[in-house]
Amino acid sequence: MALEAQNITINVGSKTIVNSASVTVESGSITVLVGPNGAGKSTLLGGLSGHTALSGGRALIAGRDLTQLTPKQLCDQRAVMLQSDNLVFDFTVNDVLRMGLVWQVEASETEKTEVIIDLARKCGIEHLLRRSVLTLSGGEKQRVHFCRCLVQVMGRHERDTPRYLLLDEPTSGQDIANELRLLKLLKEIAVQREIGVFVIVHDLNLAVHFGDIFYIMKNGTLVADGVRDAVMTEDTLSSVYETPVKTELTSRGLRIHTF
């Protein structure tokens, strides 16, 4: 069971943003996508999420083509966190988290509240539940949307539905402590609940620490994929980022330096 992109190509206008990319996101593991700005990472994520129309190839979730599934069926199987902030009206944090309750039909009111409070605590936003999202800082808002996506994939109790979490730079606005907290939580959930995570990050050290499978993208093409030691090498990274990159294997894992 996996979320897969098979040779997907995405054109915007006459420009090819993603060129024949193939990605496999396995349940229970963290798949990391890295690459320079403008490489097409977010567009690739859009293709994997079922939102962006493909110009070529296909995307499958548990063997079924995404285009055959309704938005309702898709939202039962995967949550997507984008880099956006569109709220204009005074929704409370609690209101926004409850929008993630797409599995609500089967759950009791107590059950729903428990899930929300538990996840809000883990994301460090429990004390904000009654606040208006408009009054929060950028980092706090980001944690609210992160938590909403967790609510969407975590609520279901049956273990048989494959669930995936697609995240576009989920920790870009976090301080170091919260960044670590969210990534640890992500790792824990991926392993315990067998959720397949696909995440775009820029911090290469965090990527190698938390990732299981790595993809590197440049100019719309995936230039490397596989396990850490095959992908996150000095040569590959230096050429992709056009910047000298040093890697060092220490007792605490692989360290990546740029100076």
Binding site: S49, H51, T70, P71, K72, L74, C75, D76, R78, A79, V80, L82, S84, D85, N86, L87, V88, F89, D90, F91, D95, V96, M99, G100, V102, R130, S132, L134, T135, H145, Q152
Partner: protein, 344 residues
């Protein structure tokens, strides 16, 4: 990039439960309807009417004039308020009002076109109660649809852009209405001007029931879309990822809000600001989630319109002031205050 709009007053009322607030609203609704039924040029005793002791004249006034008028005012108020709430949510714009963004103007143009051209269509007489509402709904649909296409083309509108586009649509509608005034004959001109003044004074059962039914059903269906409208507040992408069929939902919202506005304008002319003022009061007091917001707006909009119409009827007896004057007198200062808060 998006302008935020905070109405934090809501937190202060945390002590009163939502159920109690809705109970107050219901009581207010009932009280305004009952007083509007009783008070007027001919004062009526509702007790006598219920007991069957009322005079024949009183009964006629009640059943043929007062009751249809109050029912119409309540429905139009509810319908415009809900349409305002929906359009604000749809465009994620706290300043959207059916009148300000040109939707009512489009409906008026449709209705005026039907007044002037209707007779040359030679439709069966039985269609008469339907033709004007249909034309008005078509007119408001054109404007909502055009706004929607504009926003799709240019991406999410800035708050002030919707209003500017609204000014353009209102100007275009005025041009159209001016042309129809010019080519109309005397009889058409008279009914046209009479209609444009905006009043519930011409409420008769036969002419209003189709519109009332259309507005009531549109409001009820809109309430079922409240969950999707909530999710659309996060953005269209996000709503899709939360299971909303964005395209179908947007189409339904455009169509249903056009019915709310068009049918309202067809029976009562342009009545401004109800769609702006009411949803904001409900957001402050009850909350921003669209289900309570729409139900609250329907109840509050209905009561407000019934009371405004009552005021319009009695303030200068035996003459009548246009009800739109009353709502604009309340709404325009409110709009100014809102601008200082939203800072578009």
């Amino acid at each position: 990039m998006q302008e935020g709009f905070s109405s934090q007053m809501g937190e202060a009322q945390g002590g009163v439960s939502t159920e109690l607030k809705f109970f107050f609203l219901l009581v207010m609704c009932l009280a305004s309807v009952l007083s509007a039924l009783a008070v007027g040029g001919v004062p009526l005793s509702l007790l006598e009417i219920v007991r069957g002791e009322a005079s024949k004249l009183d009964l006629t006034v009640f059943s043929q004039i007062r009751a249809p008028r109050v029912m119409l005012a309540a429905t139009v108020g509810a319908s415009l308020a809900v349409a305002g709430a929906v359009l604000q949510g749809f465009f994620r714009n706290p300043l959207a009002d059916p009148g300000l963004i040109g939707v009512s103007g489009g409906a008026a143009l449709g209705a005026v076109a039907m007044i002037v051209l209707g007779s040359s269509l030679a439709l069966p007489v039985a269609f008469a109660p339907f033709t004007m509402p249909m034309a008005a709904i078509f007119g408001s649909l054109c404007v909502t649809g055009a706004l929607y296409l504009f926003s799709n083309y240019y991406g999410q509108f800035r708050i002030v852009t919707v209003l500017l586009v609204g000014i353009a649509f209102n100007a275009l509608s005025s041009v159209g209405i001016g042309i129809f005034q010019y080519i109309s004959n005397d009889a058409q001109l008279r009914s046209l001007i009479f209609w444009m003044m905006g009043s519930f004074g011409r409420a008769h059962w036969v002419t209003t029931v189709p519109c009332v039914l259309a507005m009531v059903s549109a409001v009820l269906v809109l309430i079922t879309k409240s969950n999707s409208l909530d999710k659309l507040q996060l953005g269209e992408n996000e709503a899709f990822h939360l299971g909303v069929d964005v395209k179908a939902t947007k189409r339904d919202l455009v169509l249903l809000s056009a019915i709310c506005v068009g049918a309202g304008v067809a029976v009562s002319g342009i009545i401004g600001f109800v769609g702006l003022v009411v949803p904001h009061i409900v957001r402050f007091t009850i909350g921003v989630r669209h289900k309570p917001l729409m139900i609250g707006s329907a109840l509050a909009g209905g009561s407000l319109m019934v009371l405004a119409d009552l005021l319009a009827r009695v303030v200068a007896l035996p003459a009548e002031v246009p009800v739109g004057l009353v709502t604009s007198a309340i709404g325009a200062p409110f709009f100014l205050w809102l601008i200082t808060k939203v800072k578009p």
